[in-house]
Amino acid sequence: MSLSRLEIRGYDAGPDERDEMFDATGDIREAWDTLGRALFADDGLSLARHAARIRRRLVGHGTTFQIHGTGESWDLDPIPLLIDSSDWAMLRAGLDQRVRALEAIVADIFGPQRLLAAGLLPTDAIVTDRNYLRPCLGTGRQGPGTATLPHLTLYAADLARSQNGITVLSDRTEAPIGAGYALENRDLVSGAFADLAARLGTVPIARWFIGLRDALAQRAPSGVDDPRIVILTPGTSDPAYFEQSYLARTLGFTLVEPADLTVRAGRVFLKSVTGLEPVHVILRWVPSYLTDPVELRGDSTVGVPGLVEAWRRGSVSIVNALGSGIAENQALLACLGGLIAEVLGEEPILSSPQTWWCGDPVGRSHVLANLGQLIIKPVERGPDRHSWFGPNLSVGALQTLRNQIEAAPHRYIGQEQVTLSTAPCFDGEAVRPRHAVLRVFGLAQPSGYVWLEGGLTRSSERPEEVALATGGISKDTWIIDPSHRRPVAVSPLRVLPQVDLRASVSSRAAETMYWIGRNLERSEALIRSVRAAEREVDQWHELRDEADGSWMLTMSDALDALAGPPNPAPGAAETGIESEPVETSQRCDAVTAAGKSRRGFSGTGLESGFASLLVDTRRPRSLTTSLGFLLSGARSVRELFSTDTWRVLSELAERRSELERAEPGEILDTAAATLTSLSAVSGLLGESMVRDPGWRFLDVGRRIERALLLAWTLERTVVRVPVPGLAPAVYETVLAGWDSLVAYRRRHRSDIEPATLVTLLAFDRSNPRSISFQVDALAADVAALPVLTGGSESVVGLVANIMAPLESGRTHVDALVHHGDDGYREGLGALLSQLVDGLTLLGERIELGYFVQVQGASYGTG
């Protein structure tokens, strides 16, 4: 006996609407029966559990998609949309036909223009489309060699079931996003329902991604056997950045930003830490019309100068081809059916909502006469372009719209409204019908288009949200084919093996890793040191006042150096990520200033002083500042980190926002919890990252920072002899702050002696916190870095220069800690200042040698 809709409490699809799960008589459709029994039998209890589990994993993966800049995170419904294999076969045939027609249209526009000249295309809409890229006209083909490559390697379509059957709401040809989210959704949902998916016969989707990798490799210019393929992202601010980095990691290609690429002699190169490396194929997520400020929009900030010329010459393939977005022009929907007949000589299989283009006099008069019943859309899609639902408009708004259309009729279409079918959705309490739109993905292969057997479904209570892709909850999509039924679930292929064996680190990514390392260390060192000071004073209350608060002055001086003095301009330390050379030099100045400052906690009390060190964002190296840089840096190179690392980084982000929200009394505890997260990040980076150049730069950053911060601390606490009686408390705090107190106690039973303290913290090569340990690690790191060309002084030499005074100091510790009547340990002071200078120079040399990128500026003469 099958389930009826009455058995699912509160599920009411309404009599007029088509539901995916139930037929018109209220009986469950065959494909849904097993799923329905498994999920709905217990009144939503197991669903709530699954939903919570998926939610946790989503947060852990850090999945995001900003919906038109609202910053909303990705949301995933636990119930997949099911499509049976016979529906799917029909869909595939229809989509295949449609994309062949669109490919022919794009090839015509950028080639012979026969369709355009014959008036078969909406001329005025096409020639004013921003994707009608004049510098690309007449190329007639995509890519190099003799073979004609398709413009639309990737294609996506938004589908819905309406009163007219399955209908194509829109086509995505410019940069069809979503396949990565579909894979991510499958990973999350099939994890929860592995057994059920297998029992139903769910077709796996990972194979399509292997096909994508192969297809990209096939796009390489002829004669290139070992192509370098990069994924070009506009940057971390792009709404779909998550997907771009996810694909980079999944496919094993280098993720690059426009500034990582350069054109030389008509060829594209990646600016990597090892020099310029040729690029043969670009999977492009930058909008076509912004890809080259020389030939296209001069004001583009995400372009690569010379890229269009390189592409025209065939030295690089771009996927999808430049200008492919022209096929998204909505005016095409008014004539696509006729075009399919004209171009392919076939009857159209799939329809679209009926559309009238206002550039055509007949279409225009129909639209203007029925404005109140239609959806009005601009012919070009974009975040800045709005659509109007006629029935929602006031008389005044309709008149405004009418005037707008009449002023530039070729820029608008009118479209009939379609009723979208509903699918079951779990809203946290019950299963409810929600309107659904399915995005499917095609990939051009030599044998024809291959379709991802699944897709990305979005659902919402409000049909216009999903129809316009402005919102809604996503769903996994299962194609149900009984021949795929298996007794045991086969886990999906999550990460494909690397194919880009020469995957390289861009200069930008290397710089980001270096600063992640430095900020990671800043954060850890600051928490440890603040905590040690807080515990010491907690244990010995008299330290507050003894000898005129001398202990407190000494420690506040040392801690102030770690966090940096507050910047007078509020929030100035928060601007941007740390990749600008200008900012780098400002930071160096701030460091120097901190080194010379002799102030305490700016006159505040002890507790609020500790809190200020941790959460005052005006301080250049406060905990929240450093964590902010660390997290934004990590986001921009997320493809270099494993999923596990992301999970702990997400936790760290959560800790940071807790710190920002924390009451003064909670800050220290929250900081302690933050230290745990930081240790987890450090552990994963140390234990699960390949020692490639990216990791080396991160480690170099860490080691330089740790050695520098410790040297500063020793300068402020040991070089000047503390007030008699307070020395043990100062030394103990320093040892605890640098995680070496236990080690010290184990070796030495006596009071803390300066010579033994200095030995342990500066010279002990077996102490992972000591300066010597960092310098040894730096020597190994820089030896593994690419050799800098044209450098007068090698970084290897600079590390040797730092090591030399440590070597000699190690054998003369007693002389170093000797002090005269002035209470100043001259030898130690000189050594530390030599170390600080050497480390600073090394940092500068690495930044200049490996990272510096010159900025380009557009110009034009009158």
């Binding site: 020639v127 002699a265 020389v294 100068p305 010379g306 010459r313 002023a407 380009g856 034009g860 009158g862």
Partner: protein, 293 residues
Amino acid sequence: MKYRIVHRTTYEYGLPATMCFNLAHLGVRSTPVQRVESTDLSILPTPDDRLDRVDPFGNETTYFAIERPHSALEVTAVHTVDRCASSPPPSASSRWEEATLTTALADRELMLASPHVPLLAELKAYAETSFSPGRPLLEAAAELVSRIFHDFVYQPGFTTVSTPLGEVLEHRRGVCQDFAHVALGCLRSVGLAARYVSGYLETIPPPGVDKVFGADASHAWCAVRLADGRWLDLDPTNDQVAPSTHVTLGWGRDYGDVVPLKGVVFSAGGSTDLAVQVDVARIGDDRVPDVGG
């Protein structure tokens, strides 16, 4: 009349530029009223990469890149052009509405708004004063050009290449390029196809004053398509219809399609000095004409 034209653009950088990528629309094209005898574009330092081609409007363009540090860039175009006298063709005298009926692909994009020429409502109103129903195109166009000439003040420095057309209309000030855009917007607003023309015009010094080399300027005007597919040059800056002394470089929808020299320069900062010298000299004729720029 035969002209020798020299157009030299010089950039001097305070700090050396490390690389530059450029696109030049500095090649002169042949038209029914001008024959190109020779044309040459020389670039210093010699580019590491250079390719000449013809753009979709039929203009000669040059892509070039200098991929090594350089402290100056000098681009010099030298053309010898034989320009014959022109007069409005007979078709210019037919009703202007007849010219609006074209559906040819190449004309459509010249009938619609373009990036520098939005079809603002004011433009249509301004145009309709001259383009009254049934009027001969030549008459209406001549009046429009004359009105722009008288209503707008020629004031170098008031606008830049990126000043929006709305501001030009509001202040009624600008240079040749702005007036060409105004005229284009008017012509397109009433349904005509019109193109932006980039070129040169000889300047004549006052009697008794010697002409200084390089004192001429690049110039811009527009052209309207006639019913028979021929084009009529209109120069609102000089209140001229079908002038015989203009030498055409190339054309497009607006300034943006035929920027003489544009690109991206990579440098560590520092100042940039730009100098443009244009010289239009007659060859083998020293008669002083009675038209001026």
